[in-house]
Amino acid sequence: MKKGMTLRRRQALLGISFIFPWLCGFVLLFAVPLLQSIRYSFSKLNILPGGGYELESVGLSNFRYAILTDATYNRLLTEAVLDMVINVPLILFFSLFCATLLNQKFRGRSVARALFFLPVILASGAIAQAELAGLINMTGSAQAAEELAESSALFDTLPFTSLLLDLNVPMVVVDYLIGAVNRIYEIITSSGVQILIFLAALQSIPSSMYEVARLEGATSYEIFWKITFPMVSPLILTNVIYTIIDSFTNSPVTETIYNTAFQSLDFGLSASMAWIYTLTVGLLLIGIGYVVSRRVFYYH
């Protein structure tokens, strides 16, 4: 650092030198590949025998193929989006519920906390893959394995369903509830980080607020909706985004993208599939972020 620079300028240089490793990595390993991937998605990529490759421009045909011709891509993408639409509210509700539970004082709280965060440690794509493969092997068919995995909750929902239908609860709601019960394992295991974030938010609420509310004679129910909920609401947005990204990083769609590239060796098609996917996720994030952020209460 030379003398004669103003403090401000020196600080700026220092700041840039702190983020320099990241900046290098970002340019070389994120921005450039990102642009290249756009280019690939519009071209056909031929690997040359020497190890290099050449591009052959094909216009929009990769995108057209992915959306219109490919047998499964379309269906997988819509399924992934629908799955997310069902799962995100459930995960949010469940994790906020768990966080409020774990924030209370009771005996064995530290054990309960340790257990609730165990899924964060154990969530692994490899294990899920191996388990599914094991089931396929056992039943002899992918379809049967999938059904078996779904029903492995071993909870008979049929009487429950007919009870609800007899009560004239609309079919859509019943479907949703039954789905939620059947997904309970999936939901519990994928809400670890969300519980952590909510728990941290709950603990940052000043206790004086609760004291005042108690003195004014508010009930616990009122306190939850008038203090706790607004105070954690900014974190709802964070959690929604985290959940969406998380649910999309390990989905059948990404598997298809991977297989298209490295098994059928169609790199261009894979890149265009990835871009369709990215755009879908991006649009969803923007839409949901916009809706949620308008309802969020910011304390500061």
């Binding site: 401000r8 700026a12 240089l13 220092l14 700041g15 840039i16 702190f18 983020i19 490793p21 990241w22 900046l23 990595g25 390993l29 994120f30 590949p33 990102l34 290249q36 690939y40 190890g51 290099g52 490759y53 539970l101 009771f106 309960a112 906390r113 340790a114 257990l115 965060f117 165990l118 899924p119 440690i121 969530a123 692994s124 794509g125 490899a126 388990e131 094991g134 089931l135 092997n137 056992m138 394992y185 519990i188 295991t189 952590l196 974030i197 941290a200 603990q203 900014p234 990204i245 990083t249 990404t254 993208i257 991977y258 490295f262 890149a271 990835a274 871009w275 996917y277 990215t278 996720v281």
Partner: protein, 331 residues
């Protein structure tokens, strides 16, 4: 007894009210206990089932009377699974690899997070928005260019100048992940940068000003004063980085599909177990492996893979939960 005592001092309606709140309180703690126990059970049930599978003998497979505790115990499953997974070499490899990645990521992300939190320079907000972008873009979008980049690795043609070779192939080495995490662009690095930035923004500025006046330079202040105070985010990030790298299949299958990493071994375990068990019936070359037996071996293998993580978690979970609360992920 308690009630009798109260009766002497308080009017009747007050007593009734107290009694009501008290019993409601008990009811709630009972309900809460049931809820927490239920959820905990859902979480640990698969682990218990896997342990039970691992110590179960072959002849108990079809025994319907068994619930969790088998009739005939054996260590055969564990032995076979270790054999198929090539367990101890893979485990050492994976732990070493994850540890290296963990330190690199923690270091590079802490630097970046501090830079974003404390210094003002032109375009800072734009750059930070780009960090958020790296969180949001699914890594699959970059998969193909990244693969080709590391397959024909050549930094600005420098290597060509030095060695004369066209380029080097880094696929199936540990280098791609190391390069990525050293430059804070690895698995979920954006999230770690975010965590560090939030934490450093929350620390008081006076500490650094004091250090500056005492004559410490920027990097000295960071390494000797800020970093020792940043234990909570360090613990969080290091644990996440280690665990997620340990479990990761994306980078592993993209860059290192031929290496001896545990996650790759686990992903191909069912197929390998099938072959292994078929080979065990030497007398009958056409015999197919019993799927139930394969499932048993697969379960045992999965258990073997997660046990190191669980043991590690037992030791660090106390710090982990505490530090998440203090990290200020919430900003």
């Amino acid at each position: 007894m308690q009630v009798g005592k109260l009766q002497r001092f308080r009017p009747d309606e007050n007593l009734l009210y107290r009694w009501k709140t008290k019993s409601l309180g008990y009811l709630w703690s009972f309900g809460r206990f049931i809820l927490i126990a239920g959820i905990s059970f859902v979480i640990i049930q698969p682990i218990i089932m896997k342990i039970s599978m691992a110590i179960k003998d072959k002849q108990d497979i079809l025994n319907r009377m068994i619930f969790i505790i088998p009739e005939n115990f054996t260590l055969d499953n564990i032995r076979h699974a270790m054999d198929i997974l090539n367990y101890f070499p893979s485990l050492t490899n994976t732990v070493l690899y994850s540890a290296i990645i963990m330190f690199l990521q923690a270091a590079s992300c802490a630097l970046a997070g501090y830079g974003f939190a404390r210094f003002d320079f032109k375009g800072k907000n734009v750059l930070f928005a780009l960090v958020i972008l790296t969180i949001l873009v699914p890594p699959q979008t970059l998969m193909v260019p990244m693969y080709l980049y590391f397959r024909n690795f050549d930094l600005f043609g420098i290597l060509k100048l030095l060695t004369g070779k066209e380029s080097i192939n880094l696929i199936n080495t540990y280098w791609p992940s190391i390069v990525l995490s050293a430059t804070a662009n690895g698995l979920k690095s954006g999230l770690y940068i975010y965590i560090f930035r939030q934490f450093f923004r929350g620390t008081p500025k006076e500490i650094e000003e004091a250090a500056l006046i005492d004559g410490a330079g920027g990097f000295q202040t960071f390494f000797r004063i800020m970093l020792p105070n940043a234990i909570p985010p360090l613990v969080t990030v290091m644990l996440f980085a280690f665990v997620w790298q340990y479990n990761d299949t994306y980078f592993a299958s993209l860059f290192m599909s031929q290496t001896n990493l545990l996650s790759i071994q686990i992903a191909s375990l069912p197929a390998n177990a099938n072959v292994y068990i078929s080979l065990m019936y030497e007398q009958m070359p056409d015999a197919k492996a019993d799927p139930n037996h394969v499932a048993m071996i697969v379960d045992t293998g999965i258990l073997l893979a997660i046990i190191p993580l669980i043991i590690m978690y037992l030791f660090v979970q106390r710090y982990f939960v505490e530090s998440i609360e203090r990290t200020g992920v919430i900003g």
